[in-house]
């Protein structure tokens, strides 16, 4: 069942939240042994919350737009009293002392959190293999990765353990696993969703967003979590967009740009799916426009300087003093070193060192300063193109889901799987991946829709059309 159907059923009294939760918990019990999407499951709490929702419905109350809907949270989102590990040894067992704003909004809307999902450690990775607690498998083929870093949240939805989940997207960490697992994944405009209670990786790039099996479910979820929050100073003043009411407005007259930079390097079958998606949009009245964005070719290199630089600063807080792991030593400096050396995995160490290097004296101008200017260049390039098109259509990923272990030894090879998703984060724009059939090895593939800041309504309208046309 979709989240839209569950919420409608629970609010109207034709479905019990308790039954919706049991369905989810049964699916988790049956499936998660093979998939390992979850790091924690809150069966008792979820049952109690569902019972309370059913009581409220029985007494005539409306529990809200997500009444009784089971949801899973990426394990970098704080949930009061529950463990938030970021799939890292350094936060293993650490219990958040407060709720993230998105969690507050979910619970106020009647959603029921059933558990926390696996991820690449501190959201650094593209396969969920960087989890300190073991990898997640792709539910469509358990020899393949689910993508990352929000691989657990994508896999939980793809295997119908929950209808919706939340992830975070710093360079593609929602859209890439959504594409690999065959689900919808949305990276909202920077600032649309509060980051309060999201453990920071690269603060100028991080954004929380939904996973779902249908476009409508992501629209419903984003409407609930979006909107200004005074506890996040980078939160936009704009209200949550009205997505569901425009979902079926179609794409008549919408100008959709195709640029080589968002297709080149993609596998033959993925490139073919983009062409078919473009045809589907034109058949529904959209106007196709060929554009060029050569500046995007520098996005990946710039990102892998900027994101590690921000990470090296953000992760300085893990020092063994106030929370998380401490490895004892004779003095404070040695304790800091021992704690971080034992607590962080290789990818996190790699990025901390890369960022420290890019920021260090002698290299700052050549690397960090240059990358910041590339960011400006990419923003200006998007601004130029969005004068003549409303949206861009391209690939989400260059390949379908790769095999577990295939890229672990070669970080640069792993980073290349984010090549089409990264420019959006650099610009602070929204983008989504919507499933659009299968490509190589009969594995699912998503196509990516990108738009300027706060263009979510148009993105969802186009995604809805592609969902209906995915059988082409």
């Amino acid at each position: 069942m979709t989240a839209v159907d569950i919420a409608a059923g629970v609010r109207s009294g034709t479905l019990r939240a308790a039954d919706a939760i049991e369905t989810s918990l049964r699916a988790i019990a049956a499936t998660d042994g093979d998939v390992h999407a979850f790091l924690a499951i809150y069966d008792d709490d979820a049952r109690a919350t569902a019972a309370a929702i059913d009581d409220r419905v029985a007494s005539g109350e409306d529990p809200g737009p997500l009444a009784g809907v089971p949801i899973a949270l990426k394990d970098n989102l704080c949930h009061n009293g529950r463990v938030t590990s970021c799939a890292s040894r350094i936060l293993e067992g650490w219990r958040s002392p407060y709720d993230a704003t998105v969690v507050e909004r979910l619970e106020a809307a009647g959603a029921v959190v059933v558990g926390k999902t696996n991820m690449d450690e501190f959201a650094m990775g593209s396969s969920t293999e960087n989890s300190a607690f073991g990898p997640t498998a792709n539910p469509r083929n358990t020899d393949r990765v689910p993508g990352g870093s929000s691989g657990g949240s994508a896999a939980a939805v793809a295997s119908s353990m929950v209808p919706i989940s939340l992830g975070s997207d710093t360079g593609g960490s929602i859209r890439q696993p959504a594409s690999f697992c065959g689900v919808v994944g949305v990276k909202p405009t920077y600032g649309l969703v509060s980051r309060y209670g999201l453990v920071a990786f690269a603060s100028s790039l991080d954004q929380i967003g939904p996973f779902s099996t249908t476009v409508a479910d992501s629209a419903l979820l984003l409407e609930v979590i979006a909107g200004h929050d005074k506890r996040d100073s980078t939160s936009l003043e704009s209200p949550a967009p009205s997505l569901l009411s425009h979902l079926h407005d179609g794409v008549e007259g919408l100008r959709v740009g195709l640029c080589p930079e968002l297709i080149e390097g993609a596998s033959p079958k993925i490139a073919e799916r983009i062409t078919i998606a473009a045809d589907a949009l034109t058949a529904n009245g959209a106007e196709l426009v060929e554009v060029a964005l050569p500046e995007l070719r520098y996005g990946l290199s710039a990102y892998y300087l900027l994101a590690p630089a921000e990470a090296s600063s953000n992760l300085a807080r893990y020092d063994g003093v106030r929370y998380g792991l401490r490895v004892d030593a004779d003095d404070v400096a040695a304790m800091n070193v021992a704690t971080r050396t034992q607590g962080f995995g290789d990818e996190v160490k790699r990025r901390i060192m890369l960022g420290t290097y890019a920021l260090s004296a002698g290299y700052y101008d050549a690397y960090y300063g240059k990358a910041q200017r590339v960011r400006t260049m990419i923003i200006q390039a998007f601004d130029r193109v969005y004068q003549s098109v409303d949206l861009l259509l391209g690939a989400t990923t260059p390949t379908v889901a790769f095999e577990l272990g295939a890229k672990v030894a070669d970080p640069m090879e792993m980073y290349l799987s984010d090549v089409y998703t990264i420019p959006t984060n650099l610009a602070g724009h929204p983008a989504l991946s919507v499933p659009f059939g299968t490509a190589e090895d009969d594995l699912p593939v998503g196509v990516q829709l990108l738009g300027p800041a706060l263009s979510e309504v148009q993105l969802f309208r186009a995604a809805q059309v592609l969902e209906q046309e995915a059988g082409r």
Binding site: D319, M353, Y357, R373, T376, P411
Partner: protein, 102 residues
Amino acid sequence: MSEPSPISAADVVHVATLARLELTAGEVEMFTEQLASILGHAADVAALDLEGLEPTAHPLELLNVVRPDVVQASLDRPVVLAAAPKVLDDRFAVPRIVGEEP
């Protein structure tokens, strides 16, 4: 601006020290090779002429955000200290800071 020279094993040891990380000899070798590969990709960025472009640190125009100067509750001390690895007299406890014998 000239392109920076490739990262060396000594550079990796230096940044690890700055970042409060300790590496084994094998790790130094592995990370040097991997960071060189990643920075090799970044050479295209380092080589770009971007004169006249301002750096972007953040996608939004960052302004000071202030709220009315009203006292609000923060997390209770016991809640915060409960998460600490070691506590002494309602404070975070750490090993000695100066390097002399007590």
